[in-house]
Symmetry: C2
Subunit: 470 residues, 2 copies
């Protein structure tokens, strides 16, 4: 609980209405989209501008109170769970698009703006904001930046990081800095912009962002390729890239996922296929036509038994939306859905998919796999029940083995979901103890009182034991 002294100070800053500590509010912000993690904050605070954010940070520094900045809480790594209590910072008052600059192809936004709003604003003037995390309809850009969110278009267009040109940040010491700008090139000092992208709110609070937009692709085409086995689909992915075609989207769904999605979306998806590739190319008309033709050929050569190109925008939209619904669809089946994102070099997709199947079998757990095959970013998804502790232990073991295998194949423990608290026990697999120690020293340098989203990414001290969540 906050002392009445602290509460009064916070209310002085943001106004009485913007400090909530009733049970219902605290409960609402005690968890995010990650199953299995919950902790109560002491208050939910809604600042109205950067100065208020700075004032809150100063109070929290003085009283050593944790601050957890949070968007819509759509993350899947427990990144915004207030593990050590303290204040959850929300941005309902800082949700404006500040400027759309058509001359410099940039958009400047506050952290509480929905990702979809940014895309829509861009599309309205013929521009495009490519990053499209699965939750983009409700996710906020502040969260996207803090998690360096990916999405379906990552292969061709990159991730959130590639579109952040400048940030306004309230540092853990209460100072306000601006990094970057409407600049294609800027090498004035360390790249703080990219350090803060993906820092998961552990290094400060982002209060404004200038994002890069690109011209809207002229046209796009969407197609499905069906396979009798996983390996042929995976091989096709490698073949497309090796033939130097970079599709806008190159998604993989295994049979269990396709069945569940079809049951949910009812758009006539081919439930008889062992694996499906959903492929989209965008760009100039001629190029799209040529690429789709070459992709069709490569799919055939690599064993697709059926190919279909969407005949209308509506049909294409249905396919993409069906893919986007995969998590929701899978979530209906069992009480607990654990969506992971082990990621490997593209050439290892087939090996990784096989490894996941084997590991699921070994531990007798139910894992469906889908994901962004084109960039090696797979989402093995476990359907389970958190109340079944015996099964959950097997699930943990299976995932640990999946992460280890991904790293062995030159991959990583998380491609786009972040470390948060969920992957914390596994970070050393990817970056090593020396890598964690380097990160820890940066954290300590910028946030000596450890107030910013504590308990995330790595433990405070190297002496702390890493306990795997059970």
């Amino acid at each position: 609980m906050l002392t009445s002294e602290v509460k009064a100070k916070l209310m002085d800053v943001v106004g009485v209405d913007n400090v909530e500590d009733d049970q219902a509010s605290l409960l609402a912000y005690s968890y995010d989209s990650t199953p299995g993690f919950q902790a109560m904050p002491n208050a939910v605070v809604s600042p109205r501008d950067k100065y208020e954010v700075a004032a809150i940070v100063n109070i929290c520094n003085e009283y050593q109170i944790p601050i957890v900045p949070r968007g819509s809480g759509t993350n899947l790594c427990g990144g915004t769970t207030p593990l050590e209590g303290g204040i959850v910072l929300i941005f309902k008052h800082m949700n404006q698009v500040l400027e759309l600059d058509e001359e410099n192809l940039t958009i400047t936004v506050q952290p509480g703006v929905y990702t979809k709003t940014i895309l829509d604003a861009a599309l309205e003037v013929g521009l495009f904001y490519p990053p499209d995390p699965g939750s983009m309809h409700i996710s906020q850009i502040g969260g996207n930046i803090s998690e360096n969110s990916g999405g379906l278009r990552g292969l061709k267009y990159g991730v959130t990081r590639d579109y952040v040109l400048g940030l306004e940040i309230v540092l853990p010491n209460g100072e306000i800095i601006r990094t970057g700008g409407k600049l294609a090139k800027d090498v004035a000092g360390y790249d703080l912009t990219r350090l803060y992208v993906g820092a998961e709110g552990t290094l400060g609070v982002i209060t404004e962002a200038t994002l890069k937009l690109i011209p809207k692709p002229e046209t796009k085409k969407t197609m499905l390729a069906l396979y009798h086995d996983l390996e042929a689909a995976a091989t096709t992915v490698s073949a497309i890239i090796a033939n130097q075609i970079i599709p806008a989207t190159l998604e993989f769904l295994d049979q269990p996922t396709v069945r569940v999605v079809e049951d949910f979306a009812k758009i006539g998806l081919p439930t008889e296929a062992a694996a499906v590739l959903l492929i989209e190319q965008d760009g100039p008309q001629e190029v799209v036509a040529r690429d789709i033709q070459r992709i069709t050929q490569l799919c055939r050569e690599n064993g697709a038994f059926e190919l279909s190109v969407a005949k209308s925008d509506k049909e294409a939209e249905q396919l993409t939306e069906a893919r986007r619904s995969a998590l929701s669809a899978l979530s209906r089946l069992m009480p607990t859905t654990i969506l992971e994102d082990a990621t490997v070099p593209r050439s290892e997709i087939a090996n990784m998919v096989n490894a996941i199947t084997e590991i699921a079998h070994k531990y007798n757990v139910n894992i469906c796999t889908f994901g962004h095959a084109g960039d090696g970013n797979l989402h093995p998804t476990c359907l389970t029940d958190a109340r079944n502790t015996e099964e959950m232990e097997r699930v943990e073991q299976a995932f640990e083995e999946i992460f280890a295998r991904a790293v062995e194949l030159g991959g990583t423990i998380t491609g786009e979901h972040g470390v948060g608290v969920m992957k914390l026990p596994y970070l050393h697999m990817k970056v090593g103890e020396a890598g964690i120690e380097a990160m820890r020293s940066i954290k300590k340098a910028l946030d000596p009182h450890y107030i910013m989203n504590p308990g995330k990414m790595f433990t405070k001290s190297s002496r702390e034991r890493v306990v795997i969540h059970k």
Copy 2:
């Protein structure tokens, strides 16, 4: 001078032949391509692998000896001048392309590989490495990464940072870490990869890099547009981008630069024009044709009095090479050439070019301007004589005003050259004292003994006086 004890220890690590401390060697590494900065190192050391680098770092930590990692020394910010003596680390033994992976579109290299070698290796298999700093024929990739080098293709393809997927780094504490990988997506912890890109060798030694390659553009076209005044050329640049065309290259040269380049290259450049745009588009045949047509129209609408498209690859190559020769050509005119890189949002190009002209006039100094207009990255270049101290003072004042103006216009003090020692006095203009303090705390956290390229980017302590170089 190194003590005989330290020298013996270094020789133990790298062998007798790889520690040089004769006067000729020390002199050769006492300066880089930046006029006005020189300082003698105590030794030049050539490690043969990462373990030797780590051993050297450990020795230097023990004896508090500065280490300056250096490629070909083509930087223009005094970034590799051994200001505080110590060891210059060169990579003549670590100059191999380790792997070209056509399936994952990556190339893995040691730091001593020439940039041009990487491009050539990629082209040979139909792939492309876009970053093309002016010095790419002789610059080394380790230096490019440490400076986050830009180039002529930055507008469309980005800079070195956008192509670094993974690094092997010897940290200042002697630990060896690996970051990233052959991965389009990786959010396992802080983005150390991008923190080290552009860190100017102040945070450790890069011993290996995995770079992203892209499919080679199918074709390209090169054209010139001539203008009677600077402003019309600058307005054209804005118009092209605002019309959502992103050319591969969009270079600006003012009349003095064109005259000098023509005198140097003798290819029939139009010396009667007040300003010239050199424009290149690449990509699929149909797209390039269409874009060049639209660009031609936009140039005309914005006041170009003559337009010409290169008729052959050879002619196109000549034009690009002529532009690349600008610095060499200008350097012949006066004893000292100071090439700067104030950078602004694209929409401010015209304002910035006008400001440079005014400021040059005000301080009565000779400044030619050329540069990467498409990304707002201008190179105001002063032809002067370092021995004329009175003039040099005016030059300093003029550049300080140019930097201030660039920042006022939403720009930065350096777009692609880096801070090094040359821009150190100006860094606060862009990032503020709080920004410098944040960077300083990161430096201190990772390099507590301050051995890595000391005296660069910012002063060691905030209490140190910043002295402007005279």
